[in-house]
Structures are given as structure tokens and as C-alpha cells.
Amino acid sequence: MRHVECRFEEDVLSAVVQSRWPERVDPQLQAHVEGCGICSDIVAVAGTLDADHDEMLSAAVIPEAGRIWWQAQLRARREAAEAASAPITWAQVAAFASAMGLIGACFGASSTWFQAALGSIKSGVSKFELAAFVSSVAAAVGHAAFALGLVLIVLLVPTALYIALGRD
């Protein structure tokens, strides 16, 4: 069976990272390492990485703690402001869409030609009469440009508003 651990590996690792290897260790441990694949790998790898670690710590050029702290503060503030403004934007869009819907409803309730067109459509659909349907469609088409404009206002303006505010 293939072993993946040795009971001396902790001792060997300690000796390496404490810079005691190989001069200041028990000769018996040295002799063991020479014949142990696991421990000799530890000496090779840990010795190299530990030395490199020390080199890198002394060579590291890192920003000052105060700079990191204040940059984090600024960024946190900015992100908090962005997060706070997002729901407001959505609320604004919803309110605008509602207002447009209300205007459309008022228009529908007060416009005689619109009501007449709706009535024609309703009767046409209920009677399944082609002639009535065609006449109601014709009546609606007469004001199609206006109706289309209304639909565009209700649907597209809130979207455009959201995109514009979102970019800010």
C-alpha cells in the first residue's frame, strides 16, 4: 500500500521552517530523511517555498494601510449610494407608467370616437359578423395613428426614462 504520510514529517517540517535543517537536527532524523521519500520531498519543497516566502516578504511593496482604508470607505459610500438610488429609479419609472396609464384611461373614458370604436369591436366580436368586424376595424384604423402614439408613450417612454437614469 502506498503511504501518504510519515510520522516524522512534522519534525522535518519544523526543522526546515525554523531554519534548523540540516545543521541543527538530530543525525537520526537526517538519516531518516535520506531514506524517506515523503520527508525528502518536504525538505525540498518546504525549504524552497519557505525561503522564497521570506524573500518576498522583504521585497513586497504594498500600499499603506490608511490608503486602503480610505479607498474602501469611498468605494463603500459610492456603492451604497448606487444601491440606494436604484429602487428610487424603479419607483420613478413605475409612477410614470402609472400616470401614463391613468391619462390613457381618462382619454378612453372621455373620447366618444374611441368609445364608439370599442363598441363596434365588441359587437362585432360578439356577433361574429364579418361585416361588423370590418367596420369596427375600419373605425379603429381611422384613429390608428393616435392610438399607436398612445401605446408608444405608455410603453416606450418609461423604458427610455429608465435607460437614461440608469446610465447616470
Binding site: 502506498r2 504520510e5 517540517l13 521519500g37 525540498a44 524552497t48 518576498m56 521585497a59
Partner: protein
Amino acid sequence: MFRDATYTDLTRTEAAGEETAAFVMDEETFRGFYERTARGLWAYLVRVTGDRALADDLLQETFYRFLRAAATYESESHRRNSLFRIATNLARDARRRSLIRAGSILMGERIENVPSSVDAAVSERNADLSRALANLKPRERAMLWLAYAEGASHEEIAGVMGLRASSLRPMLFRIRKKMAALLGRKPEGGAR
């Protein structure tokens, strides 16, 4: 963006009377923690990513995410492990992004020869190490570094890497053997 603000700008903004962002950790505690961990974390990021500039960015991002995490920690080592876990995840995400971009040089394929020492022996050792590390996967580099440069326990490494502690010993054994062979100390030694 983050690194563009100058210290003067920051001081001026603060002087303007803006509120202080609420981090769980206070500035004094952060300063102490940063001084104790930043260099080691930077070394870890350089060796895992193989890219010094990326390590600089990830260092700042790691501390920012750490501050924003709003977590409380039982001990200094718990806090430190959390920091390294954030860094490990960021390095992994950075690698994924580099893979998606499919640049000519993927992260980790080019390992920088980091400390520029005038000592020829040290420079040679760095070159050997850089070449060897370049042949390992980022996760393998991370595990080796945590185990043998940072001196982390198996439980700590498992926590940082998101692995089970019980599976760590055989994984470390395999990676260590691979690394030893790459370093040229031993061609391929078996276990006892």
C-alpha cells in the same frame, strides 16, 4: 477607479464632511490587521496568480471585500483564514475571466520571477521556483504555499480552499511529490 484616487483627494473628501462608511472593523484594528497580513497575502497572490500587477489589484480588492463582509471573527487566525479565502476566490475568478478572454497568455502560465535580488544564488532559486510553479495548477500552487510558506494547518487550508480536511493529506502528498520532481531535487521517489 479604485487605485486612481490620491491620498489628497481622499483627505479632501473626508474634510468635506461626508459620513464614514460603516465597517464592522474600526480603522485602528484594520491597520494592525493589515500590517500583519498584507505582505503575506501579497506574496500568496503573486505566487498563485503568477502576475504581480494582478496580485496588486487583488490585494486591494481582497481587503475591500473583507471589510464589506461585516463578519465577526472568533480569533485572529479565523480572521486571517477568511482573508485568504476571499483572496483565493478572487484569484480563481480572475483566472476564469482570463480563460474566458482567451488571451495568448493565460494566468499562471507565465510566473513572474518576483523578487529582484542582486544575489545570484537567490535569483537562480527564484527562477527555478517560478518555472516549477508554472507547471502546477493554481489550486495546487495555493495549497503548497499555504502549507509550506504560510505554515497553515490542514484544517486551515481546507477552510481556505473549500475542501474537506480529510482529503487534504493525500492531495498535498501528490502535489508535493510533483513539485519536488519539478524542482529537480528528486526524479520520482516513492513513499516509504
